[in-house]
Symmetry: C2
Subunit: 211 residues, 2 copies
């Protein structure tokens, strides 16, 4: 890469998944922290980089990439020696993308109904926003039941192979407590969290995501 990769992130967001992948890649990278409380994701400078006004956004020498699924595979393919995805196996790579897609399009969306319900109803419709918030513990628990019982192979998401899906699962599992769900209900996921948090890469990146 001609330019060092630069990841825009904010604490508490799903950008942690892409941040972890960069750290595990072993490649040099920068990480630029945005303050969502100050609405930095809506600044003209950032909207020029990412018109969606969201994170993650990864600046590369070819342009900007958004969406965890795309960034995760891009990092895995750009730094194949780090072995972050089964690039040699079309079916297993699809299983990684299947899992990551479930994280982004179902589980993250469930979670977003707690704090970002205004995306789907009027921002002053307090009753509907509260109705959405109220169901989040149920929808998150249902999704993690499916993960625990059906998707998670162990010891890693895919089985023996560690992959970007482990980073994405860890990122979203961290939201369970705030969403009113006790991770201990899901012993495999809880054990996975503990093992992730024992890794120096995770400790280093999580430290930069403190509020």
């Amino acid at each position: 890469m001609a330019t060092t990769l630069n990841l825009y992130y904010a604490p508490g967001t799903c950008a942690l998944a892409s941040h972890l992948a960069l750290e595990y890649s072993g490649a040099p990278y920068q990480a630029t922290r945005l303050d969502f409380k100050q609405q930095q994701q809506r600044s003209p400078e950032f909207l020029r980089l990412n018109p969606k006004g969201r994170v993650p956004a990864l600046v590369t020498d070819r342009g900007v990439l958004t969406e965890n699924i795309a960034i995760l595979q891009f990092i895995a393919q750009s730094f194949p020696q780090a072995n972050l995805a089964p690039l040699d196996d079309v079916f297993l790579l699809a299983k990684v993308n299947e899992f990551n897609s479930y994280m982004s399009s179902t589980v993250h969306v469930n979670h977003a109904h707690k704090g970002r319900g205004y995306r789907w109803v009027e921002a002053d419709d307090t009753a509907s926003l509260q109705a959405m918030q109220k169901k989040v513990p149920q929808t998150m628990a249902e999704s993690f039941t499916l993960i625990e019982e059906q998707m998670f192979k162990g010891p890693w998401v895919l089985g023996e192979r560690f992959s970007t899906s482990d980073m994405y699962l860890y990122t979203i599992a961290r939201w369970l407590e705030g969403d009113g769900v006790d991770v201990k209900r899901f012993p495999k996921v809880a054990d996975h969290m503990r093992r992730m948090e024992a890794q120096p890469q995770v400790q280093k990146v999580v430290a930069s995501h403190q509020p």
Copy 2:
């Protein structure tokens, strides 16, 4: 492949994107239609294949794949001669996945608040369900404004290269009318729809998705 691929789909769903990719791949495949009105996606037989109770679900000789993003890249990589994705270019392939992820995790989710709001509030909470439905024309129009003005390169999503992103865009653009949004507001998307519908592969698959 030892076994012929078999795609489970239902009319009106996002499974059309994966169905189109199979047709464009040139490979032999089967397509099995489910009747959602009869709740066939909740049948014990289908839940054994896909515990999510959703489509698309692609049965392969290695197991079942779900989630359009995963299936689309799996088909593109399994049948590279069909040239359905820029497999030779890590960055461009990421742009395909970025676009497809926006389709699944943002635009499809916007649309789902019209008919499937019960996923995120109680099914008998009529006021909240109506509040969600009411905002769908706005959220869909906002997403398609971003597609029209920022994402769509022309003549295809990626630019000169036709890809699975064109199939996914076409699939979701078909929902605009029912969501109360006139596609003519988005001239590039409207022209793209017309060119897609002129292709024999699209005509053949769409015929099998009639209600």
